[in-house]
């Protein structure tokens, strides 16, 4: 494939974004078409590398680059890296992204910022593709920040709402914390190994000879970037708040692509992590902890989008865990499957919100009667998320569990099993409350006539995503000679063997979760309220998300605030009053004395001049003449 076309994959969303901003801002319809056209173009162009990889699975990675910086001591090659990993990610971003773009045309209809929305969306796609195609850490970092910026713009899309503006700020600042570590990590790695380029780094690390401690530090620092962007503990607090943005944005950025960038980064720099096993352990445990923590929080939430957001957190933790236990393909496989079913869940949730104009699940209920397509597709997404056979989530989740089991991380394996139970529980709590039973709140639907299904421009993407959520998992099914793994593996192991007992066990656990959800929220065999009041401490803990926000707020107000007060004092008294004003006062005082010498009389100046000359002449006489006299003698 010609390199020009590869560059076009990257640049076409950027061009669309510029055209919309500069030319077609006035016409929303045209802007939407340009944006959708650009990402569709990227998608179809991405099929070229896919065909190439499928034809030659063992072909070496292709790289096109130019020198961005070419100094004797520092070389940075910007460029495009095409290997199976980037192609998979490319297809996820452009494929799922295209569907979400199309869906947005319906969802955002009538919004005053319609063109701005599509410009930002295209800009986001460009930034994300930049990360995916990047061949070096510097370029990754640049696009990493651009992605953060476009995420900020889109979360704060309805910036006139204070909560949205705050959420945008929170997301930006929280991820910046991680990005700072990422930047230090990149520079650190450069000083240890001496390159930014992925292939060069990989080749050097394969030869070995670098101190493992330094590599571990570098890997952990780079992982901080992934922690921020993928919303892993302890930087996970921004993602649920980011649900203030429009729902398609949540689907695209905060479910399918951007938050997966952290997982992608770990996968991309897997050569580094496999050279630093301690760092990999940290990845696994942080992932596992995030998975179970977010899954438990999701049980006690009441906002439809927040429940799905916590589910995203939990699944991202799963992916990190998969990578951490050495399941390279398992993590990437789950990323791909998750992109399908989580985008589907968000878009279906958006369709629900579109119909009933509320996000509180207790104001919904019985919606499956009105929203046939939405509820069916949502059910498929929920089943896939819960990991039921034979949907996509089953295969990928199973692989992660097998990878954890086989690598001997039994604790993480059980964490995964328990998380699977909670996942099924909260997904079906959501499903039963929203779609089954009787309409719950009079105000909920009363304001409008019966909720009606969304237009085809929104439901068709739902159906397509549901199809992929259902069948895509077979790419990793056992017995396939050329499964997902044989294409994506990066010198690492392929699919682990299929363990019937683990698969059956995780399915049973998921079924148990669905059963519990059914008993509480559909059949009402038990009362959830009674349980909540019985264990009110635990319930409050979950409902308040383990008080992470409060804890961080306390830390910021007391510790960071104290440091800021001290710095302010130093700034005000030492820097400004002592150094700045002191210098000015000293200058004025010296000037006041020295100005007395300016008499304004010509002859005084001349007098000083002549006295000076006479002084110099005498000095010369005193120093040179005696020595000459001595020489003459």
């Amino acid at each position: 494939m010609a390199p020009g076309l590869l560059w076009l994959i990257l640049l076409s969303p950027l061009i669309a974004s510029i055209i919309i901003t500069v030319l077609t801002r006035k016409s929303g319809r045209l802007s939407a078409l340009i944006s959708v056209g650009a990402i569709l173009l990227s998608f179809f162009l991405s099929l070229g590398p896919l065909a190439h990889i499928l034809a030659e699975p063992q072909a070496p990675p292709t790289e096109y680059f130019w020198y961005w910086l070419n100094l004797p001591t520092l070389q940075v090659k910007m460029g495009i890296l095409i290997d199976p990993l980037s192609v998979v990610m490319l297809l996820v971003v452009t494929g799922v992204g295209s569907l979400i773009h199309i869906y947005s045309m319906g969802y955002m209809k009538g919004d005053p910022g319609y063109s701005r929305y599509f410009a930002s969306l295209s800009f986001f796609t460009f930034s994300m593709l930049g990360i995916v195609l990047s061949n070096n850490f510097v370029q990754t970092y640049i696009f990493w920040e651009l992605v953060g910026l476009s995420s900020f713009l889109l979360i704060g899309f309805w910036f006139e709402k204070p909560s949205a503006a705050d959420a945008a700020k929170k997301a930006f600042l929280t991820t910046r914390v991680g990005d700072f570590g990422f930047m230090i990590g990149i520079v650190f790695l450069y000083f240890v190994v001496g390159s930014f380029n992925f292939s060069e780094l990989s080749a050097s690390l394969k030869q070995g000879g670098f101190p493992e401690t330094l590599l571990t530090v570098a890997a952990l620092l780079i992982f901080t970037g992934a922690v921020g962007k993928s919303a892993q503990f302890p930087l996970h607090v921004w993602l649920p708040d980011a649900m203030e943005g429009p729902t398609p944005v949540s689907a695209l950025i905060h479910a399918a692509t951007m938050v997966a960038a952290g997982v992608y980064l770990v996968a991309r720099s897997f050569f580094l992590f496999s050279a630093a096993p301690d760092a990999l352990e940290a990845v696994a445990y942080i992932g596992g902890f995030t998975a179970i923590m977010a899954a438990t929080i999701a049980i006690a939430q009441n906002d439809i989008k927040r429940i799905i957001a916590y589910s995203t957190l939990s699944q991202l933790g799963y992916m990190m865990m998969g990578l951490g236990v050495g399941g390279y393909t398992a993590g990437m496989f789950h990323l791909t499957m998750h992109a399908f079913f989580k985008a589907l869940l968000f878009l279906a949730a958006g369709s629900v919100i579109h119909a009933v104009h509320t996000q509180d699940i207790w104001e919904m209920g019985g919606l499956s009667k009105y929203l046939k397509i939405t509820s069916t597709t949502f059910l498929i997404g929920a089943l896939a998320n819960a990991g039921l056979f034979p949907l996509s989530g089953f295969w990928s989740k199973d692989e992660i569990l097998v990878a954890a089991y086989e690598s001997g991380h039994l604790l993480l394996f059980w964490v995964g099993i328990v998380t699977a139970f909670f996942t099924a529980l909260y997904m079906f709590r959501l499903f039963f409350v929203v779609f089954t039973g009787a309409p719950r709140s009079a105000e909920g639907h009363g304001k409008h006539e019966a909720p009606h299904e969304s237009p085809p421009v929104m439901t068709v993407p739902l159906v397509i995503l549901a199809f992929f959520s259902a069948v895509a998992g077979f790419a990793g099914a056992p017995g396939l000679e050329h499964g997902f793994a044989s294409y994506v593996h990066f010198g690492a192991a392929g699919h682990p063997a299929f363990h019937f007992s683990i698969a059956a066990g995780s399915t049973l656990v998921a079924l148990a979760g669905i059963g519990v959800a059914w008993a509480f929220y559909s059949a009402r065999l038990f009362s959830a309220e009674r349980l909540a009041s019985r264990f009110s401490f635990a319930y409050r803990l979950l409902q308040n998300k383990y008080y992470f926000d409060e804890l961080y707020f306390w830390i910021i107000r007391n510790i960071q605030g104290g440091i800021a007060l001290f710095c302010n004092w130093v700034e005000e008294w030492v820097v400004i009053n002592f150094f700045v004003n002191g210098t000015a006062a000293l200058t004025r005082w010296t000037g006041g004395i020295l100005r007395l010498s300016q008499t304004g009389k010509l002859q005084t100046y001349l007098m000083m001049f002549i006295i000076g000359i006479i002084g110099v002449v005498l000095l010369l006489l005193a120093t040179f003449i005696p020595s000459q006299v001595v020489a003459v003698r």
């Binding site: 300016q598 009389k601 002859q603 001349l606």
Partner: protein
């Protein structure tokens, strides 16, 4: 032949008179004339040394000094005229705008 020391002494006297003139006179025209005296003292030195060292270089320098002196007087007198028009005085003590 007149010894070199005579010329040097004459030059020294002229120079000193010029410097003192510049320093103590208050009339700006007088100061300009005193400056000319200083220049001429230098010229005498140049010519005398040129003659005694049998070299033409010093006399060439004198021509340059005279040319420069003429130009300087032109500019100097122009400034004096402008200053006189503005302040109606030639006393340098009254040109004290640059005083503290």
């Amino acid at each position: 032949m007149i010894p070199l020391s005579y010329f040097v002494t004459l030059s020294f006297l002229l120079f000193t008179i010029g410097v003192i003139g510049v320093l103590i006179r208050r009339n700006i025209l007088m100061i300009l004339m005193a400056i000319e005296l200083i220049l001429n003292a230098v010229n005498i030195n140049f010519v005398a040394f040129s003659r005694f060292s049998q070299s033409i270089d010093g006399q060439v320098f004198v021509f340059f000094v005279m040319t420069i002196a003429a130009a300087e007087v032109v500019v100097g007198l122009a400034i004096v005229i402008v200053a006189f028009r503005r302040r109606a005085t030639v006393n340098v003590d009254e040109f004290n705008l640059m005083k503290w």
